[in-house]
Amino acid sequence: MKFVAIIRQVPDGEAKLREEGGRIDLSGATMILDQMDEYAVEEILQLKEKHGGEAVIVAFGPERTKEAIRTALAMGADRAVFVKHEGDADPITEAKALAKVLAEEAPTVVFTGGQQADWDSYALGPAVAEALGWPSVAWTTAFELEDETQATAQHDLDEGAQRVRVRLPAVLTTQQGLNEPRYPTLPGIMKAKKKEIKEIPAEELGVTGTKVEILSQAIVKIERKQKILDGTKEPEKAAEELVRLLHEEAKVI
């Protein structure tokens, strides 16, 4: 059996981002394996440990994505296929390219993050499934392989949960709670150096550009208003003003 995790590299949530000329400059930022994708990597490692076979990483992104791939390999995956693409690409474009890799790999099951931290999109997993004509289950919190042709999964809803049976191959997206990702260890990092990363230029998979162009990016700035009312002289008026501000401006009462 073959288990695949699709991963991406995203800025660390705590990274300090700089805005330059209407674009986010990532050159000085710490980049990490998307934490939602980490659940995908952990899940395929557990599947391999339980059922045998191969745990394969498939990644899409610019050259530096290799760092995230190495992290996944350091966690224990066997090898990686890396679709290299500099510049922007929308989820549908990415999914189409990744689908070609997956069609060739012919895995038993594919996992990827339920959400992409950088785009804040949920599209990648379902779009890959769509491109392959495979079923997809989103936001999984539990997964059980029954045999090579079917599996059961739990899918969390806002106020409840569903258990489903899905035909394989399928693409599942992760949700917090699916598992507890292991740490990459130093011996794992050393072994990862020797593992294969097969590089495929995105153009070879038909990527010619992006269908959604990013025009500008901005970082939200949160600033306190630091408004202080002087209540020492006319406390009643100050209290009235406070109520008015809370009602009309802050709209909390």
């Binding site: 290799k66 760092e67 350091a74 990459p184 260890t185 130093l186 794992g188 990092i189 630091q226």
Partner: protein, 385 residues
């Protein structure tokens, strides 16, 4: 990590991965509770096998002995990340790796290496290093009263060691003693050997999340097979100290990052005299000094790492980095404590814990002044000890 000059670009991809992995693990497993352990005066022994599994112990030693086999810079980055949490955690790893595994690796027989190194690397065994004695640590040769005399195929050890990290939790201690001819020799002493005891030193106001002990040896018999065959003379334990000091030079920069970041964030969020504290010139001067020291220190240790891997490292270069980086970190911790005002005196913040820890780091592994004298001798050729 704090990296004003983008020194990380000088690291290999693998070294950066080690740093990220260590930070991630320690932020999850150690940072949330460090204050509790420190206040209680306990070392988190449950972390020892986890450190082993992560590959933190003796990480720079070869994989054939169960260690991770990483570069000197990667090893340094582990020390950095450990000490960013607490000097006590870094001290544990320094002793285990540089002062216990290293002497077995450098001076041990092949059988000793195969027997002990993999289990020490995995954290199944804990080691201690006994050099300092009650009469003084700065002159270990002159003050060494611990004696080893030969009795058939055994050695009998008598003496007292003082201020020994991990002493009371150790399974084995590397004990340095003079033989009948006055030559310093090293022994691997299992701590359950009759006549060996290790009472813990209490009431420390520094390095509280680390075990410090006295080692008492009364007619302790160890087989000759547990003597380190390659160690003869004081230069053997001193070479171990060079390894540990190398790690300290990295480690203290982690503590510096921790206190700098905390002070900066505090100064940005606190308002006095109608504006953020961070807008005051005196405050900015303090923060600028801390950042400058961190930046210079990181370049020093990066260079040391490359010299070490090239086999060109001289112990006086390590002395300079241990001395200056430790003092820089201690000064930064004092300034951070100051910038936090009254908040800075509580363990709610990290500054005072680091500040108190760094007093130990300033003193152990060669005091600040002893390293000054080592550099003085290097410069002038005249020993002024």
């Amino acid at each position: 990590m704090l990296d004003f000059y983008r020194v990380q670009e000088l690291f290999t991809e693998e070294e950066r991965a080690v740093q990220q992995a260590a930070r991630r693990f320690l932020e999850a497993e150690a940072l949330p509770q460090i204050r509790t352990w420190w206040e209680a005066g306990t070392f988190p022994t449950h972390l020892i096998p986890k450190f082993g599994a992560m590959g933190f112990l003796g990480a720079n030693l070869p994989a054939e002995y169960g260690a991770a086999g990483v570069s000197s810079a990667a090893y340094g980055l582990i020390m950095y990340e450990l000490e960013r949490i607490d000097s006590g955690l870094r001290s544990f790893a320094s002793v285990q790796g540089a002062l216990v595994m290293y002497p077995i690796f450098a001076y041990g027989s092949e059988e000793q290496k195969r027997e002990f190194l993999p289990r020490l690397a995995a954290g199944e065994l804990v080691g201690a290093f006994g050099l300092t004695e009650p009469d003084g640590g700065s002159d270990p040769g002159g003050n060494m009263k611990t004696r080893a005399h030969r009795d058939g195929d055994h050695w009998v050890l008598n003496g007292t060691k003082m201020w020994i990290t991990n002493g009371s939790i150790a399974d084995l201690a590397i004990v340095w003693a003079k033989d009948e001819a006055g030559v310093v020799r090293g022994f691997i002493v299992p701590t359950d050997t009759p006549g060996f005891s290790a009472p813990e030193i209490k009431s420390k106001m520094s390095l509280r999340a680390s075990v410090t002990s006295e080692l008492v040896l009364e007619e302790v018999r160890v087989p000759d097979a547990l003597r380190l065959p390659g160690a003869e003379g004081l230069k053997a334990p001193l070479s171990c100290l060079t390894q540990a000091r190398y790690g300290i030079a990295w480690g203290v920069l982690g503590a510096l990052e921790a206190v700098y970041t905390e002070a900066r964030d505090f100064a940005l969020s606190r308002r006095t005299f109608g504006e953020p504290l961070a807008k005051k010139q005196l405050v900015q001067a303090k923060l600028a000094g801390m950042l400058a020291d961190h930046t210079k220190g990181l370049l020093l240790v990066w260079r040391l790492a490359r010299l070490k891997d090239a086999g060109k490292l001289h112990h006086t270069q390590v002395s300079l980095a241990k001395r200056d980086n430790t003092y820089a970190a201690l000064k930064a911790a004092r300034l951070a404590r100051d910038l936090l005002g009254a908040n800075g005196i509580t363990l709610e913040y990290h500054a005072i814990r680091h500040m108190l820890n760094l007093e130990t780091v300033y003193t152990y592994e060669g005091t600040h002044d002893v390293h000054t004298l080592i550099l003085g001798r290097e410069i002038t050729g005249l020993a002024a000890f």
